[in-house]
Symmetry: C2
Subunit: 222 residues, 2 copies
DNA sequence: AGATCATTCAAGCGACTATTTGAATGATAA
DNA sequence: TTATCATTCAAATAGTCGCTTGAATGATCT
């Protein structure tokens, strides 16, 4: 305001970008993409101390990417709107397109093999309805309980070695997790394919599925 | 790579965001949106020293948002692809939606009055063909010479006071500049309306016009 | 009221960032 | 080859950021 308006505007845009410029905050946003959460829960999921988590959240709030409300003595944070999700997604897409390092990491997640193309959500919904596919939710049990694709099995990465032999090698398995920032589904697919199973990832994760208005089930399924 | 892949990925995404987190670099990107440029030209346009500009450009290159090539002894930088432009645009949209400060600055640019809605580019193209509008390019002469909307007049903000009386008060005037980050068109419209003229902004700027494959003229027009 | 709980604030530290300065590089032109 | 030019590198500085620690706030519960 004191300086020229052009500089002041750029300063504000930079503020939003700066909010996205720390891995810890991207991690928080990924959690918030799954639904609103309190500070303590977020700190636990992201391995931050409570104070540190709170400060990151305030920075996100100042940038307008998240908003908060009070619920009793807890502070509940949530993404301001779906544009925040779009911004995170575009950030990821640009990074995947342009940074060799990202490609290398993603290749590493597939155990060096060529990973099969992910299944898009619309196709998956159709095949789910037809019963021609097994869906695997590769998130921690509490996130599964808070909402999952109807009919999905829940298995963490640690569980997969155990349940892999019980899965039908002829039916296709589709794994999903928190979303595009989450690597669980990549790792699950790699593990399942090592067991000779026909596994692929779903594109995106539960937040994207929900965003499209598709059905979400609560509590445990089968 | 040494740490877990999830953290490594977030680090890379954060790198891209960090590249966008300095006003100086957003300014450089705005310039590059107009077309490829050498280091010296960019430094002059953005009021950076050459060394400083070069370092910012290298940071942008590391993030993958821009690429460079050598041309004789000059280094030419350009946006990697149109996703960079999309990312900048989304950043601006999120900031405008969520940050009260941005709204305040934009209101200040319109001199407190309600600014009229901007004209979209398709409509402008149609009205230009019909000759029912005067188009004003509010960028420095060198940028105008490097490409502008066919039939546009070139006038810097300083020129506007001089030429305003010569413009037809009955015909609508549409001003444009470098793009959504640029404030010249806002300021020009405010100045023109103070002169009682019927002026509006074009949505976006020349980079967006060009991106849509519309015609661009070189050198001076009428 | 006092006690408790979730979150935020404040201060301090080490690490990183932006900028300046001056020297080094790498390509061209004489 | 040497001279010139555009750009990059290297070192130094001031300022900011992220994280930790411990105290302060604000809302609930007894």
């Amino acid at each position: 305001m004191s300086t020229n308006p052009k500089a002041a505007l750029l300063e504000e845009y930079a503020l939003v970008a700066r909010a996205l410029s720390a891995p810890a905050r991207l991690s928080l946003l990924e959690q918030l993409a799954q639904g609103e959460r309190g500070v303590e829960a977020l700190a636990a999921k992201t391995d931050l101390t409570i104070a540190n988590c709170s400060q990151h959240l305030q920075q996100l709030r100042r940038s307008g990417l998240v908003t908060s409300r009070r619920d009793g003595k807890a502070m509940i944070y949530r993404l301001t709107d779906s544009k925040t999700l779009e911004l995170m997604d575009l950030l990821r897409i640009v990074a995947e397109r342009n940074l060799a390092q990202v490609e290398r990491i993603l290749r590493g997640l597939s155990g060096g093999e060529d990973a099969p193309e992910p299944v898009n959500r619309k196709d998956l919904a159709a095949r789910l309805a037809a019963g021609s596919v097994t869906v695997l939710d590769v998130r921690p049990a509490d996130e599964f309980a808070a909402g999952h694709i109807p009919g999905a099995l829940n298995a963490t990465l640690a569980d997969i070695e155990r349940i892999a032999p019980t899965l039908d090698p002829d039916s296709e398995i589709v794994a999903y997790c928190r979303g595009p920032y989450c690597v669980y589904a990549h790792q699950a697919v790699t593990a399942l394919r090592r067991h000779g199973l026909n596994a692929r990832r779903m594109e995106g994760g539960l937040p994207e599925w929900r965003e499209e208005g598709r059905k979400v089930a609560l509590r445990a399924a089968s």
